[in-house]
Amino acid sequence: MIELINVTRTFNQGKQNQFTAVNDVSMTIQRGKLTVLKGPSGSGKTTLLALIGCMARPTSGKITLKGVTTSFFTPAASSDTLDITSLPERFLTEIRRHSFGFIFQQFNLVKGISALENIMLPAYTTGEHHHHFRQRALNLMEKFSIIRHAASPVEWLSGGELQRVAIARALINSPAIIVADEPTAHLDSVLSREFMATIELLQDEGRTILIASHDPLVYNAACINTVVSMRDGQINDNVTRS
């Protein structure tokens, strides 16, 4: 479970082009639930995702994680929370590596290497044995029906296949939380629906999923548990469905 308390993120603080992307946001993301951040572009969705996903630190406020075990923090009790607000980069990166899986708007795959290698990339620096994560990567590719592209360079893949590679990459370290930023931005309706079906699969596996999107296909999907509306860096509305 992730909790945000009065979180603010301001860019270029003190300078002329000072800009507050996230303004005094408080919210709770329940474990195992599918939450969607809805809002127009510029509403602060991406920044909020970055803050939650341990990619950036808030200018003020507090972010805590519950139920996360890392090499430097073992919860003594199930109610113990980890305050990640001012953790050093190294620890943040470790949490991100083990507990979060990211799917970017532009996919952000490394050109010139194969799909399999792209999927395995996040696992390289964990120190785990190669054959372990290689097997996991192959299993993931099989699960998303892209196994035949294992050795193909990513330039050869279609949009839908690329997205599945991006999803597989997000899952390589078996993270508890999946974060997706505008995942359907470059997809047509068919592929968007396919994507939501995959997300539902992941939800059934018990993962916590957080999606930022202004695509109605996404925020109107049946599997969504909570929809958080944002505008100008603040939360307008927080609707929880069953």
């Binding site: 995702l49 990166t93 290497i113 390289y124 785990e128 990459r169």
Partner: protein, 378 residues
């Protein structure tokens, strides 16, 4: 511990695959780098072998050689000097040496003519060096014509050829009898080219030399240690040609590393951004860049050294031939004995691999510290 090792190993794997991805660029980098190392290492091996050879062989040279000087030029030394010199304490023998240079106009070559102190060839016969035999295309038993000082051609039979492994000493040598030598140069009696002195105790050499200089102020004694020291400073970096070669190598290397250091391409920058966004730390990215630089420089270094070794010891320093021959015609075949100086090679390693690896890491530093969420916004 194994996790750290694994981490380094997999980053190395990725580095290798990255290098192979930009094959053309990295191949050309590797080639240039290898070429630079090749030249420098060839020089190192060559000079080292010659110095080693000089140290070993010239250890058997005469202990002291006394030359006579007139108006600053080398003149013939009167044999009567030998009398007083042999009376100096420490001197066990004084042997006059008869040797000189002969320029053969037909073949355009310079030879050194020498009368051996013991077992000289019989009158009318000569022993020649392998270089002379090659130059004139003659073998044992053939006749050789030399033009003497009184313009009378001297016909001499080749009695034997010095072995090829001794070419570094005897390539241009012609040994003959005293009579032939005298006829050849119209050599006056009562003088010799110089005197070879035997002083068995090395500690006494300097005393004997000072005494000779005091006794005969018009002479110049040369000690064996001085002769050996001459070969120590051979191919000194201050020599004209060496400066040019070294400066070129150093300059090309600087240009090369500078080009590397002045920045990453946009593609490389983007890739680093992606790696950071998927969970790679700044340290991981730097390790990646380190491996990239290190792999190229180490490969180039090893290739360069191996090629240089082959060049000098299997191909007899072929590429240096024009520089070493100069205007002369005779070129001794360099059958050099391999002499590896680990200290110099280590220095070369540190002076090339370290700066190059640093030049690869430094521009990556800025790119590697990019915040991971930048990739989300791009």
């Amino acid at each position: 511990m194994s996790t750290t090792l694994n981490r380094y190993r997999y980053i190395l794997d990725f580095a290798l695959s990255s290098l192979l991805r930009r094959k053309v660029k990295n191949m050309s980098l590797l080639l240039v780098y290898t070429a630079i190392i090749f030249v420098l290492a060839s020089l190192i091996f060559f000079v080292q072998s010659i110095k080693h050879e000089a140290a070993l062989t010239l250890d058997q040279a005469p202990d002291l050689v006394v030359q006579r000087m007139i108006v600053g030029r080398h003149d013939l030394i009167p044999l009567e000097y030998a009398g007083k010199i042999s009376q100096i304490r420490g001197v066990t023998a004084v042997t006059p040496r008869f040797w000189g240079y002969y320029y053969d106009p037909v073949f355009g070559a310079n030879y050194t003519l020498l009368v051996p102190d013991s077992n000289p060839p019989p009158v009318g016969s000569i022993m020649i060096g392998a270089g002379v035999a090659r130059n004139q295309r003659i073998k044992t038993g053939d006749l050789m014509t030399l033009r003497s000082a009184s313009n009378i051609p001297l016909l001499l039979t080749v009695q034997g050829i010095f072995p090829t492994h001794s070419e570094i000493l005897s390539s241009d040598l012609l040994t003959m009898s005293q009579e032939d030598f005298t006829t050849m140069f119209n050599f006056p009696g009562g003088v010799a080219t110089d005197l070879a002195i035997t002083v068995p105790n090395p500690a006494e050499q300097i005393t004997v030399a000072s005494k000779i200089a005091a006794l005969y102020p018009d002479t110049r004694p040369i000690m064996k240690s001085e002769m050996l020291r001459t070969y120590d400073t051979l191919f000194d970096w201050r020599g004209g040609m060496m400066v040019v070669v070294l400066a070129t190598a150093i300059l090309s290397f600087i240009i090369f590393a500078w080009d590397k250091a002045t920045g990453l391409s946009a593609e490389e920058r983007k890739e680093i951004g992606i790696l950071k966004s998927i969970g790679w730390e700044t340290a991981d990215v730097l390790i990646l860049k380190f491996w990239e630089g290190f792999v190229i420089s180490l490969t180039a270094f090893l290739c360069g050294i191996l090629l240089a070794y082959a060049h000098i010891y299997f191909f007899a320093a072929l590429l240096f031939k024009p520089a070493l021959t100069g205007w002369s015609v005779l070129y001794p075949a360099y059958h050099l004995v391999p002499s590896i100086n680990p200290y110099q090679l280590m220095t070369l390693l540190f002076l090339t691999v370290l700066p190059y690896t640093a030049a690869t890491i430094i521009p990556s530093w800025l790119a590697a510290t990019v915040p991971p969420d930048a990739a989300m916004r791009s």
